[in-house]
């Protein structure tokens, strides 16, 4: 029994082993001056920069504006993609009407639209939210649509023969059957969301983490640039953890 506890804590620690070693080496190499701080500042300096930005409230401001953009864009794109995927998955008419068009739009890399979007909406909030929503829409759409299309026909037939139809058939059989695929789409789109936001904020913004990094570049503040990158990594990891948590809850029958 004691052994299994040791084994468990070992398994907990193992994923963090390489990051820790990496950090320690980084710190040593920087302190010894092997890497100049103009190329890569030491972890301690980055922590100092973080403390300073936290205490003057700048970090909070940039972080919250980035989070708000990400969230609003994600909700708009996600809802549109989800509803469109549902409609096209369930109704033949809507599938015939929309699917081809959506598939054509999907093949345009949404980041290629940045110049166009800036001309349309300027560099205000609308353009960034638009880009995020566009990026999120397609993975959610595709996975919802395919999820519904690939629900086991046998289960649908069973549901019908047991008297389920209409919304009951949808909520008891079709939607749960498509759920794991939908969640895959959501997780994938979270990655797209951050990527889009980083690019958009770096190119055209006056606030947000991406802006903070670009602004720091002008003043050669290496520590802030690296800090921004780390924050993005943290956000990415965090959204993945949240998505996994919901996946675990919603798909617990799958275990």
């Amino acid at each position: 029994m004691n052994k299994s506890i040791i084994k468990k804590s070992f398994q907990r620690f193992l994923p963090w082993f390489i990051p820790c070693i990496f950090l320690i080496c980084w710190q040593i190499v920087s302190s010894l001056g092997i890497i100049s701080e103009r190329i890569l500042p030491a972890p301690t300096e980055i922590i100092q920069a973080a403390i300073q930005l936290i205490s003057n409230g700048e970090l909070y401001e940039h972080m919250s504006i980035s989070l708000v953009r990400a969230f609003i864009g994600f909700v708009i794109g996600g809802v549109i993609g989800f509803v469109l995927g549902l409609l096209n998955g369930v109704f033949r008419f809507s599938e015939l009407l929309f699917d081809t068009s959506v598939q054509m739009l999907r093949n345009i890399p949404h980041l290629a639209l940045i110049p166009l979007v800036i001309l349309w909406f300027g560099i205000g909030e609308t353009s960034k939210i638009f880009l995020v929503a566009l990026g999120v829409l397609f993975p959610v759409y595709i996975n919802t649509y395919h999820g519904i299309k690939s629900v086991d026909k046998g289960l649908i037939e069973m549901g019908k023969s047991y008297g389920l139809k209409g919304y009951k058939l949808f909520f008891h059989v079709i939607l749960p059957g498509a759920l794991s695929s939908i969640l895959v789409g959501i997780r994938f789109s979270l990655g797209v969301m951050w990527l889009t936001l980083i690019v958009a904020e770096t190119i055209s913004a006056q606030s947000g983490i991406g802006y903070m990094a670009m602004n720091a570049r002008e003043f050669m503040q290496m520590d802030i640039i690296v800090l921004s990158i780390l924050i993005y990594a943290l956000f990415g990891k965090l959204s993945d953890v949240i998505a996994r948590y919901f996946e675990g809850r919603l798909l617990k029958w799958n275990a």
Binding site: D152, G154, L155, E157, M158, G159, K160, S161, Y162, G163, L164, H172, V173, P176, G177, L179, L251, K252, W253, N254, A255
Partner: protein
């Protein structure tokens, strides 16, 4: 007779065409109220098709299915079907699977049905936690909770091991005797058909080519010589062999004799 349950099925000139192929080709049969009928035949001969037509899951190209004097249109509401692969919803707990299509106030009925198949203590598990035989018992409970007049069974025991099969056969038989519904069982196992049913139907070329009443007393003993005769007879009919004993009737012996003729 107080046969509140059960239903009379009259099938006339039933035709079903898939891709220009007549799977059922003017099939005629009558199944009486409360009867237990097995349907056997070669793979692909249309057994499942017949069952799906009787369940109203598909429309026939021709002919009619009359249930207690009324022509079947659309879904057969008096029938419940049990599939070979169980088809439990993996995202619903056992009890909720049994409750599918059941109004909420009848939830205690679902518990009763689970108890009848001996699985009430597993009611809060997900199907993935059950064995194959247990899943089929849940599927049986789900079908029976509606008190159907007609129970359609499409090779429900095909995937089970021999011992579990026997147990399930006994369970199905005892529930049938208790509830007196009409039962149609599709099976590829002639022994199972003889053990459990009043009549065995053989489908060949889209028609009933054999309609054999099994007049053995219940409970049936497999060791009974008459039992073995029925099984042999049905098997040889399935294999399209005649009654003249040019070949031994049992399959293994047939293959042996074939082997001999090759060797000589």
């Amino acid at each position: 007779m107080e046969n509140r349950n059960g239903i009379n099925i009259q099938i006339n000139k039933l035709e079903k065409v898939y891709d220009n192929r007549n799977v059922l080709n003017g099939l005629d049969v009558e199944i009486k109220k409360g009867e237990f009928v097995s349907v056997v035949g070669k793979s692909g001969c249309g057994k499942s098709t017949l069952l799906r037509l009787v369940a109203g899951l598909e429309d026939a190209e021709g002919g009619s299915i009359i249930l207690d004097g009324e022509k079947l249109e659309g879904l057969n509401k008096k029938a419940r079907i049990m599939f070979q692969d169980g088809r439990l919803l993996p995202w619903k707990r056992i009890i909720d699977n049994v409750c599918i299509g059941l109004s909420t106030e009848k939830r205690n009925k679902a518990l009763e049905a689970l108890a009848q198949v001996g699985l009430e203590e597993r009611k809060d598990d997900y199907p993935s936690k059950l064995s194959g035989g247990q899943k089929q018992r849940v599927a049986l409970a789900r079908a029976l909770v509606h008190n159907p007049d007609l129970l359609l069974l499409d090779e429900p025991l095909g995937a089970l091991d021999a011992l579990t099969r026997l147990e399930m056969q006994e369970l199905i038989e005892s529930l049938w005797r208790q509830k007196k519904f009409t039962a149609v069982l599709v099976t590829h196992d002639a022994e199972e058909a003889v053990a459990i049913s009043d009549r065995v139907l053989l489908i060949d070329q889209g028609k009933i080519s054999l309609d054999q009443t099994i007049s053995l007393p219940r409970p049936r003993k497999r060791t009974n010589p008459a039992f073995a005769l029925y099984v042999d007879d049905i098997l040889s009919q399935i294999m399209n062999r005649n009654e003249d004993k040019e070949y031994p009737v049992l399959l293994p012996e047939l293959s042996l004799s074939l082997l001999d003729s090759v060797n000589n």
